[in-house]
Amino acid sequence: MSDTAILSLEGLIIGYDDPLVEPISLEVKPGEIVAILGPSGIGKTTLIRTIAGLVRPLGGSFELNVEPRGGLGYIPQRLGLIRHATVAHNVSLGARMRVKWSLDMFKERKERTFEAIRTLGIEDKASEPVRRLSGGQQRRVATARTLAQRPELMLADEFLGELDQTNVDIVLGAVQDLVKSGTAVIMVEHHEDNAKNFATRIWEIKDQRFIDLPIEEWVKYHSEKEEEE
């Protein structure tokens, strides 16, 4: 795995009118899994949307070292699926980003699409419109879309929300495979347990302060804090 940073933030100030968090400076390397924790409305989604290029930062800068076409995978809070299109169509959007123009383009795109669908265990739903699926199945479709894309950086906003443990395991298992191939993951997470089990690094936003710690240190920091209290 390369040691070059996939994402570099230099004094990044996020927010819409006023800064939500103190300036953030850090780097994310390939294969890292970052979980962003913090109470609702604190700026977690704004941070992820800023990195996705959907919100203009108020100050500072960030650099994405990924391919412009398909290098960034994004699962928004409401998943961003095309409800009236089939599961296969939705997943193929991810695949189309990375398959280059060639005679075998369509075949390769189809293979990628169905491989991702199979990995997430939704092959029996491939030709169903997304609107007919349950919330959990829709989350699996959104993950399959990113899986088919195989991005260098995956941004996911609460994509494990509403999922039962079986579905959490299926989705995280699929993302782990992606991480092994060098993808870095930044995900907003509400459940500390999921973060502890899955992430290698935690970003915590609290009272406009930004804490960036490796998972072991974060666990230690929290247990010490609890003891103090």
Binding site: L54, P68, G80, I82, L93, M97, R131, R145, Q149
Partner: protein, 295 residues
């Protein structure tokens, strides 16, 4: 809330009444005898409808086995349907190209505003005026009708389409943008599938609208059933006009049913599997059989 709404409606009615009174300059006397005039006109001139419009014309000589296929009603209606079909298809293609540029969530303001202004300009002329313009420019006949209705369709459908696009959820668009999909790719792979139901519905509505307006533009010589209606009106043959109007009504209802069927393939009602009368009857019969066997 209920009383406030009632109050608003009452207020609007009052304003409308006042405006109408101003328009007729308080001369309500002209309404007197209006209903009886209508009854006399209907009974003496329109009723019964003259169904000879569905029989073969005397000239040119009919070469079809069934005379109906040489009738004024059939030929006029078919020409109107053809004009409406071609102009709806051409207009839809034109409209979708322009509406993709006019939607503010898909293109920057410096692109969307000029396209919106263009669509408004095209829409501001009714199809009748477009028809008169094309009859002047290229002469009588269905081609003038096709061009007139195509232009009007572009303006009208374009507005409906960009409003639908602007109303769609932002999430799929944001996911596509973040992934790096190009603008055309976002439009064809996200916007169109997500709004397929609305687009189909609008397309069918526009076809129906063009069929109805085909009758109007025919009056100025742009082809279709309207040409025959205009001729019968000139010769005061209102019974034949009435028969043709019934024919138009039937065709419009059939298009509406067709639209319902087409949309059922894409709308969410199809997700709910409602029991049919047949399945309900079969279930009732099965229950009856089981109870007989148990007895």
């Amino acid at each position: 809330m209920k009383y406030r709404l009632f109050g608003i409606i009452l207020f609007l009615l009052f304003i409308a009444w006042g405006t109408l009174d101003g328009l007729v300059e308080g001369d309500w006397g002209r309404l007197e005898g209006g209903l009886s005039n209508l009854v006399v006109f209907f009974e003496e001139s329109m009723w019964p409808p003259n169904w000879s419009v569905l029989e073969a014309r005397s000239y040119p000589v009919c070469e079809e086995e069934v005379g109906f296929f040489c009738s004024v009603g059939y030929l006029g209606m078919m020409e109107t349907l053809k004009i409406a079909f071609v102009s709806t298809v051409l207009g839809f293609i034109g409209a979708i190209s322009l509406s993709s540029l006019a939607a503010r969530n898909l293109t920057p303001l410096f692109v969307s505003i000029p396209v919106r202004v263009f669509l408004s300009a095209v829409r501001s002329l009714p199809s009748l005026i477009w028809a008169i313009l094309f009859v002047i420019v290229i002469g009588f006949g269905p081609l003038s009708g096709v061009l007139a209705m195509t232009f009007y369709t572009v303006g009208y459908l374009g507005k409906l389409q960009y409003e639908v696009f602007e109303g769609m959820g932002n999430d799929p668009l944001e996911a596509g943008r973040a992934m790096g999909l190009s603008r055309p790719s976002i439009f064809f792979n996200i916007v169109i599938p997500e709004n397929g139901n609305h687009l189909l519905s609008q397309l069918m509505f526009m076809f129906e609208y063009n069929v109805r307006h085909g009758t109007v533009i025919g009056i100025v010589g742009a082809g279709g059933i309207g040409y025959y209606i205009s001729t019968y009106l000139k010769f005061l043959q209102y019974d034949k006009v009435f028969a043709l109007l019934i024919l138009i009504f039937i065709v419009v209802v059939l298009i509406d049913l067709l639209s319902l069927m087409v949309r059922s393939f894409v709308n969410e009602e199809g997700d709910v599997r409602k029991p049919t009368w047949l399945t309900l009857l079969m279930k009732a019969r099965k229950r009856k059989q089981t109870s007989v066997e148990e007895a």
